[in-house]
């Protein structure tokens, strides 16, 4: 009978724990802040709360004697948070690099049904029709700010590799309005290419990834020698590309008058709907338009999701290991302090303050671990640059790991959740300890 009851109680406890974790994951920061405030008030004002505070203080003051096992909790949780934050920062950096490439003020027009520039192609008539549509901003001379662009892949030797280490770079042939379309492009060395010549400018990241892209050097692309005349920076995915005049690229890569996409600057973000409607109602055209923000966000979705799933899987498995590590250490701590806890209970402290005391101690250690892990991840990986073959593109994309405050915050939430579970069971054991037996031990 008693066994059955304990079993029921334990099952209820586990169910409650799962529920609490679900709420915890969903809780926004102000929810947690309110929770912490309520808890602090309880500890300061209520009688039980003050008892809990004093039990906690005693527990924390003895931490120094258990340095080894406390360190296990802190380092274990730091490991989980560090790996989790680093992996998620990789996904975040990748998405961020693409997301900031787009804006709501510019739009990209692709062939109908195409998802990406790589699979799109537009003929000359379509391009002329697109650039005449309503909603496109015009420059001082009254010309539409629209750049028909041609994206091709080009093979170049990788920086720091052998002669056979060839990588792929995305080469973008741009129209003359490309600069007005993307005012964020800054030439940081050399100058812009002259239209109609085999001159090209290279993005800052592309320059780092591939060999021989210095200003003034010559490279062989499409079997033709090109001269590198400038380096540009834009702080986004464009930096991984190399740019040249679209007509010249089309000639060398046998693309005739066809282009892959048209980039346009909109009169205002609200004008996108007008622009899109105009394209749709034009019987000459079968194209899809999206704001560049939408376009680039979508490009990153697949890869970002894969990285996220990997990060969460690895994080979960590590977290399970860390929970058992914490359980182990806290059970040992409770066992070592059995007499002390029994004394407290004997002089009138109730179960709740004892439970709260042990749990707070564990969660404090977990918090330290979370902060440490987050700090290490931030120091080691924030701004760490990596590159990959981007999905739906034809060249290497460089990006930087982004350890954002939001990621650090979710790392801390994980740490506290691990501390909560790791502290709960030892705390319950401490509270259930039969006073007389515990006092007689040793």
């Amino acid at each position: 009978m008693k066994r059955g009851l304990t079993f029921l109680a334990n099952t209820a406890l586990l169910a409650g724990l799962a529920g609490a974790l679900a709420i915890w994951v969903a809780l926004p920061w102000y929810g947690i802040a309110a929770l912490a405030l309520l808890f602090a008030l309880w500890m300061a004002l209520a009688r039980r709360g003050r008892q809990a505070a004093s039990v906690t203080a005693v527990g924390i003051s003895t931490l120094g004697q258990r340095l080894g096992s406390s360190a296990v909790i802190v380092i274990g949780i730091a490991g989980v948070v560090g790996v989790l934050v680093a992996l998620l920062a990789m996904g975040e950096g990748y998405s961020e690099e693409l997301r900031k490439t787009g804006s709501t003020e510019t739009a990209i027009v692709l062939r109908g049904g195409s998802d990406a520039e790589v699979t799109s192609s537009l003929d000359r008539d379509s391009i002329i029709a697109i650039t005449q549509e309503k909603g496109i901003a015009r420059d001082a001379q009254g010309r539409p700010i629209a750049s028909p662009e041609l994206v091709v892949a080009a093979s170049l030797p990788l920086a720091g590799g052998g002669p056979d280490d060839i990588g792929s770079v995305q080469m973008r042939g741009v129209g003359e309005q490309a600069w007005a379309l993307r005012p964020g492009i800054k030439i940081i060395a050399g100058r812009r290419f002259r239209p109609g010549t085999r001159e090209l400018i290279v993005g800052k990241s592309a320059q780092g990834q591939f060999a021989g892209l210095r200003v003034g050097s010559r490279v062989l692309l499409g079997n033709q020698p090109w001269s590198v005349v400038g380096v540009f920076a834009s702080g986004d995915a464009m930096e991984s590309e190399i740019w040249a005049d679209a007509d010249v690229v089309a000639g060398i890569y046998h693309r005739g008058s066809g282009r892959t996409s048209v980039g346009v600057r909109l009169v205002s973000p609200q004008a996108f709907d007008t622009f899109k409607a105009a394209l749709q109602s034009d019987p000459r055209l079968q194209v899809t338009a999206s704001t560049t923000l939408d376009y680039y966000s979508k490009q990153s979705q697949g890869t970002a999701k894969v990285i996220r799933v990997i990060g969460l899987t690895v994080g979960t498995i590590m977290a399970i290991g860390a929970i058992f590590g914490a359980l182990n250490c806290m059970f040992a701590a409770v066992a070592a302090r059995a007499r002390e806890i029994a004394t407290l209970r004997a002089i009138g402290f109730r179960g709740l303050p004892v439970v709260v005391g042990v749990m707070l101690e564990t969660m404090l250690l977990a918090l330290c671990g979370g902060l440490l892990g987050g700090l290490v991840a931030w120091l080691m990986f924030n701004g760490y640059s990596a590159s990959t073959l981007a999905a739906n593109a034809v060249g290497k994309l460089s990006f930087e790991f982004a350890v954002t405050p939001a990621l650090l915050w979710s790392g801390l939430k994980w740490a506290l959740a691990i501390g909560f579970i790791g502290g709960l069971f030892p705390a319950l054991r401490a509270a259930r300890l039969p006073v007389a037996t515990a006092l007689r031990e040793l």
Binding site: I75, V83, S168, G321, V394
Partner: protein, 387 residues
């Protein structure tokens, strides 16, 4: 060995603690098993015996440029070439343009170069006889419930047919099954006839995306590769020929540094694990001070006490590690199957097991060293007196 029961008893002296530590070790080695499987699968792509005999020839300009089909006969005549085939990227999608499928337009003999793929003789015959026939991977067929004889509509994301529509109609004539992990790729692919493709789309003009060449002698592969590239040197379609192995290695290197990522995660995991197991062993030895002193009193030598504590920690690691790796071995195929072909994780191989067991013993010795030394240096009188 004769002290095994003693070590075993010592290990389970505190059941809860040992159990909790073992679970932590299990999770660490479960993770190790999974990550190492991923790492080896990336490292092994293209490294099979068949892959070493195959050369890939693509455009030197970039991987999206095409080559003339006339190279086919010229490559075939080169000395050292056993067989040559070619293929084009078709870029098919099924039902929804976002649902892309690896689909290639291939020459009739393409599959002859891939002996690791199993296709029944009847299916090969049907493929040869059906202009619009396609061979589909077994995994794809399972996923979309395709059967031999079904009509298969595919949208090409790149090529329209002669009517200007991107909807192509095919007929499934056979299923491809990979014989080993080397042929895994074909499990999720669709092969169609290059001839049908070339005649139907107005945009291909008799070009091919890449050539695959099988050489007669692996040691001659480099020479043959150079000879193939020499065929089109200084033309407007220069080629770049690499062994399949080198080409894949290059591709993976561009994709991500898998080794570094896996290495860093495992570093963090094992560092934590060492602290944890080390702490457990320290506690275990500290608690048993008087028992160890008794052992020494009744004649156990310093060295055998040292060995027993070391053995205890190695045993702890081995129990947890073996269960963890075993779990990974069981779980990986389940995860692969559950993902419906999205993830193709290989099972944990013998190499991973060996590496894992090596790690278990190494970590066991490392975490046991300090407590074992402490146990060895124990002064009997002090220990018995509880000082």
């Amino acid at each position: 060995m004769k002290y095994l029961h003693l070590i075993w008893a010592a290990l389970f002296r505190r059941k809860t603690r040992t159990l909790l530590t073992v679970i932590s070790i299990i999770t660490a080695f479960l993770l190790f098993g999974m990550l190492d499987a991923v790492r080896t699968s990336f490292a092994n792509i293209g490294k099979n015996a068949n892959g070493a005999e195959r050369l890939q020839t693509g455009s030197r300009l970039s991987f999206i440029e095409t080559l003339p089909q006339s190279l086919y006969a010229r490559i075939g005549r080169l000395p050292g070439v056993k067989a040559v085939a070619y293929a084009n990227w078709f870029g098919g999608a099924y039902q929804d343009p976002h649902n892309q499928i690896f689909s290639f337009a291939v020459s009739p003999n393409y599959l002859d170069l891939y002996p690791e793929v199993q296709v029944s003789a009847a299916a090969r015959q049907a493929f040869a006889a059906t202009r619009t026939g396609v061979l589909v991977g077994a995994q794809l067929a399972r996923k979309f419930h395709w059967k031999v004889g079904d009509a298969l509509p595919l949208q090409s994301t790149i090529f329209p047919n002669h009517e200007g529509s991107k909807d192509w109609q095919f007929q499934i004539v056979g299923i491809m099954r990979p014989k080993d992990s080397g042929g895994q790729f074909f499990n999720g692919s669709v092969l169609l006839h290059w001839k049908y493709f070339d005649e139907t789309t107005p945009y291909n003009h008799g070009t091919v995306g890449w050539y695959v060449t099988r050489v007669t002698d692996v040691n001659q592969a480099d020479r043959v590769a150079k000879a193939i590239d020499a065929l089109s040197a200084n033309s407007d379609h220069e080629t770049l020929t690499q062994t399949e192995q080198a080409a894949t290695a290059n591709w993976i290197k561009q994709l991500a540094n898998v080794g570094l990522i896996v290495g860093s995660i495992m570093g963090a995991v094992f560092f934590t694990l060492m602290l944890l197991a080390g702490n457990t062993m320290m506690q275990a030895v500290r608690e048993r001070t008087s028992e160890l002193a008794v052992l020494k009193t009744i004649g156990f030598s310093n060295r055998s006490v040292l060995a027993m504590v070391l053995a205890e920690s190695v045993l702890l690691l081995l129990i947890g590690g073996m269960i963890g790796l075993g779990l990974a071995t069981v779980l990986l195929p389940v995860v692969s199957a559950g993902s419906g072909g999205a993830l193709n994780l290989p099972p944990v191989n013998a190499g991973s097991w060996l590496l894992g067991i090596g790690l278990m013993i190494a970590i066991g010795v490392l975490v046991g060293a300090l407590p074992a030394l402490r146990a060895m240096r124990l002064n009997i009188v002090d220990a018995l007196a509880g000082r």
